[in-house]
Amino acid sequence: MMWLILSWVFVHEAAPSENPMISVGPGVLRPFYPPSEKEKEIKLEAFQLQQHAVTNAEFLKFIQLNSNWRRDKVSSLFVDSTYLSLWETPVSLGGKVSPGQPVVFVSWFASKAYCESFGARLPTHFEWELAATATESLPDGRSDIKWRQKILDWYGKPAPKNLPKVMQNEPNFWGLYDLHGLIWEWVQNFNGILLSNDSREAGGFDQARFCGAGAVAASEKEDYPSFIRLSFLSSLEASYTTKNLGFRCAKDGKKGN
């Protein structure tokens, strides 16, 4: 009974108005590594994604309402030892970080719990990639070599000592900010992306896809940024936290849109 009431309380909390859900798609994604022959083109329904990465201020509010996610209270099953380590105390930001910066040093579990606290979820990898193929003016800019180079340049640079605040750059075609150039972001299925169908039989993870002849399976070979993201995400465990990894939440598309 208590759980029923609690879930009612959480689900009916409104999405934070300072970081609204933006409608994305529908669209067709040609994934870098199609998981199977039948999945070279993925048709995605329209969905919603938060305008920008979740900030320190937003995550602090969540912590104040859900003290079981405080860094001094949470089970080490869900976070590693650097969780929220830039914050001065478990319940305040202090001087080293600003409220408008994206929250980093958050685990997949913590990100997922944040989104679920207002009835949202993390985006799937395909959803995130679809949103991220948009340039400032086009829904799919992956053939734009200049734009792709700009993203690659960011991946090539070391992370700045102090992260910029969110929304300092132009929004993309959908109205989303900072999918590139600020931080890496968690996705719902970060650990299942590289599973081929064959692993139903082998029970294994397709290591060969990373390198050498295995990369022949890639269909969008020029989309190197997507490959970098895949490799990075696949290297994570759900409790990991790092200095440039944050998240934003998603929801299914509104019916009738």
């Binding site: 208590m2 079981n68 650990n191 082998a202 029970g203 993870f205 759900a238």
Partner: protein, 183 residues
């Protein structure tokens, strides 16, 4: 109503606090509710107090999952009689749609395992499936033509749910898991 809700919330926060202060990372911190092969609602820590081997599967899986169960039975068979009576096996499904209690019960009967020591179960909340998989280090993906692509991992839990070991179910010998069960 609001006051009552706030009270409940507060109570829950206090409970959560006490829980975390034990300072251990238990599998049972996940607090998931499951439906087992008898249609009963059980919590994830149903086997608290026992050493447990836990894994994930789905019953319509053609090849890997029968092997998974065969492996678990091999582990059970190789335990000494005392440990065998103590040890429990928890198999959690990826597939809430097809793995109804009836399907799970049929699976238990087909494999002839002892129901008091073996639970086949499906999480009540679908969002808990990825949580459980993540804690066990199991990678999985729903395949469009049906079924799931997944890695096969056995987790060995102690009496309090502490994860003693996670290993490749189909590649490591039963003795490896037994070593952690009897520790």
């Amino acid at each position: 109503m609001k006051v009552m809700l706030a009270g409940l919330l507060f109570g829950w926060i206090i409970l959560a606090r006490v829980w975390a202060e034990t300072g251990t990372a238990s599998f049972y911190d996940l607090e998931a509710q499951l439906i087992d092969q008898d249609g009963k609602s059980i919590s994830l820590d149903y086997f608290r107090g026992h050493p447990v081997v836990v894994t994930m599967f789905y019953s319509s899986c053609p090849h890997a999952c029968p092997m998974l169960i065969a492996r678990l039975r091999a582990i059970e068979a190789k335990l000494n009689p005392v440990k065998r009576l103590e040890t429990r096996f928890l198999l959690i499904s990826f597939d809430p749609k097809l793995d109804t209690p009836a399907a799970l019960l049929a699976l238990q009967k087909r494999h002839g395992v002892e129901p008091s020591r073996w639970r086949f179960a499906t999480p009540k909340l679908e969002s808990k499936i990825s949580d459980i998989a993540a804690v066990l280090g199991i990678k999985f993906r729903k395949v469009p033509e049906g079924g799931f692509s997944h890695s096969s991992i056995f987790g060995v839990l102690d009496e309090n749910g502490m994860i003693k070991y996670r290993g490749e179910a189909l590649q490591e010998e039963p003795e490896v898991f037994i070593k952690y069960l009897v520790k």
